[in-house]
């Protein structure tokens, strides 16, 4: 069985947020909610000041603390390592959001349409979220099941994202992680994330 993961090369990322928008378009995430986004920070001092970018998404951890604290079993992990939320089981207690150090989850209170009170054709076709639940990146599980890459990976104009099987030592992802000494975020938390970062 595969264990899906991703590597993101921070030396290549230009912070264009194409991944953020591709994710919004793919999932029609409600207004103000981003399943994937690009964080930024200003470092250094003038005249050597610069901005650094950090694309973030659910890390689909090998030891997902969100799954452990979930009181209903709504958060679950597939055999291929993708961590998902069953919207029909979620009670919206937000304990998963408190427990995750990476911050990719969002609580959907409702009324997340672009035009308040009415859905666009796009939203009515794509949005199937009940109100009062927690949502997050699902690694574009529907696309992955059809053999495609997640939308953020396919969209990135600099090709800084690589998606693949971490358990396959021959995969491009595994080779990148090994050769470029890619590291996950906050490895000291012990959650063994499946998203790795190169450089930065």
């Amino acid at each position: 069985m595969a264990r899906y993961g991703m590597a993101i090369d921070l030396g290549i990322c230009i912070g264009c947020n194409a991944c953020t928008m591709a994710c919004k378009a793919e999932h029609a995430a409600p207004t103000g909610i981003f399943w994937g986004k690009v964080l930024e920070k200003e470092v250094g001092k003038f005249p050597a000041a610069r901005r650094i970018f950090l694309p973030v998404l659910c890390n689909h951890c090998k030891n997902p603390i969100c799954m452990e604290v979930c009181p209903t079993g709504a958060t679950h992990k597939r055999g291929d390592g993708i961590v998902l939320i069953d919207y029909d089981m979620c009670i919206g207690c937000r304990s998963c959001m408190e427990a995750c150090p990476y911050g990719p989850r969002a609580f959907y209170e409702g009324n997340g349409n672009y035009y308040p009170g009415q859905q666009t054709l796009f939203e009515s076709a794509k949005q199937d979220f009940p109100e009062g639940i927690v949502m997050k990146c699902d690694f574009c599980v529907d696309r992955v099941d059809q053999g495609m890459d997640p939308a953020c990976v396919q969209t990135c104009p600099t090709e800084c994202r690589v998606f693949g099987d971490l358990d396959d030592p021959q995969s491009e992802l595994s080779r990148l992680v090994a050769e470029k000494k890619a590291r996950p975020l906050l490895p000291e938390k012990g959650l063994e994330p499946s998203v790795f970062y190169i450089g930065g």
């Binding site: 930024e40 920070k41 979930c70 009181p71 959001m97 408190e98 911050g103 959907y108």
Partner: protein, 294 residues
């Protein structure tokens, strides 16, 4: 819904998911269970009734807080890993066994087939006491196991929550004693107990701050917010000063002495301590910070 600017910055991040409903639940749930526990110790059934009512009130606030209250029963499904799930069982056990125990005491031996002196009567009392202790403690475990928020990630939290819950429970008893039916309450005994408990809370909080001061970046920032930053006035003045130190200094003279005290005096101290207790839980939730990702 609008996204906050700091959601897009690399740095220490505030938790914003749990607000005043959860904070008030932490306060009322702990205080109610503490009141119930002390009612068993002093054998005061009506104080136990009040304790259960306070726990139920707090639990109702949790219903209001969750996104899908009609699915609340699903929160019982994962006690093997989730402390929230375990807490649901603890609260249920407290209400069921506490209710049975109080019914046997208040409605007389004719109400149930067993009296309070029989094995089943003793069992329901012991089970209710155990459940009350677990309700007082488990909220500390809800916060402490996660590595995400370093300030909460402390083994001391369940102990602090237990001590504060008992402190608040006894304060509820002190304040309600004039209107509670049943036997009179020994104010001096309770006030002396509060002095020792308040001292223990003070030591525990200072120990927690001491441990956290050498912990992760976010924990140190939490301490800065509490001692020198935005929340310093409420923490130092409210939690430490008004909630613990002032009641300790005022009540210290009666410890170890057989003196008379008046209700107004103990009520004033109880109000100060309850104010500090609520503030403590408010600030613990408010200064929950996540470590920066880089």
């Amino acid at each position: 819904m609008t996204a906050r600017l700091d959601e897009f910055l690399i740095g220490v991040r505030h938790q914003r998911e749990w607000g005043w409903l959860v904070i008030t639940y932490l306060f009322l749930g702990g205080a109610g269970a503490g009141l119930f526990l002390i009612s068993l110790y002093i054998d005061h059934a009506w104080a136990g009734v009040l304790g259960l009512l306070v726990v139920i009130l707090g639990t109702l606030l949790l219903f209001l807080d969750i996104g899908r209250p009609e699915r609340f029963w699903r929160a019982f499904l994962r006690p093997q890993t989730s402390w929230i799930s375990r807490g649901c069982f603890f609260i249920s056990l407290l209400i069921v066994f506490g209710g049975v125990h109080l019914a046997s005491q208040l409605l007389g031996p004719g109400f149930l087939r067993w009296g309070s002196e029989t094995f089943l009567g003793e069992f329901s009392k012991a089970a209710a006491a155990g459940a009350a202790i677990l309700v007082m403690i488990y909220t500390g475990f809800v916060l402490s196991p996660s590595p995400a928020i370093p300030f909460w990630n402390s083994a001391l939290f369940p102990i602090i929550f237990f001590a504060y819950s008992l402190l608040a429970g006894i304060d509820f008893l002190l304040l309600s004693s004039p209107v509670l039916p049943g036997p009179s309450v020994d104010l001096i005994f309770l006030e002396k107990t509060q002095t020792y408990l308040g001292f223990a809370c003070l030591l525990l909080i200072l120990s927690h701050l001491s441990v956290m001061s050498s912990s992760a970046v976010a924990a140190r920032e939490s301490i800065r917010l509490l001692t020198r930053g935005r929340w310093a006035g409420l923490f130092l003045g409210g939690v430490i000063g008004a909630g613990l130190v002032i009641p300790l200094l005022l009540a210290w003279p009666i410890v170890g002495h057989e003196v008379r005290t008046i209700f107004a005096f103990t009520a004033a101290l109880a109000l100060l301590r309850l104010f500090g207790d609520y503030l403590f839980r408010f600030l613990v939730i408010r200064v929950g910070l996540y470590d920066p990702l880089l």
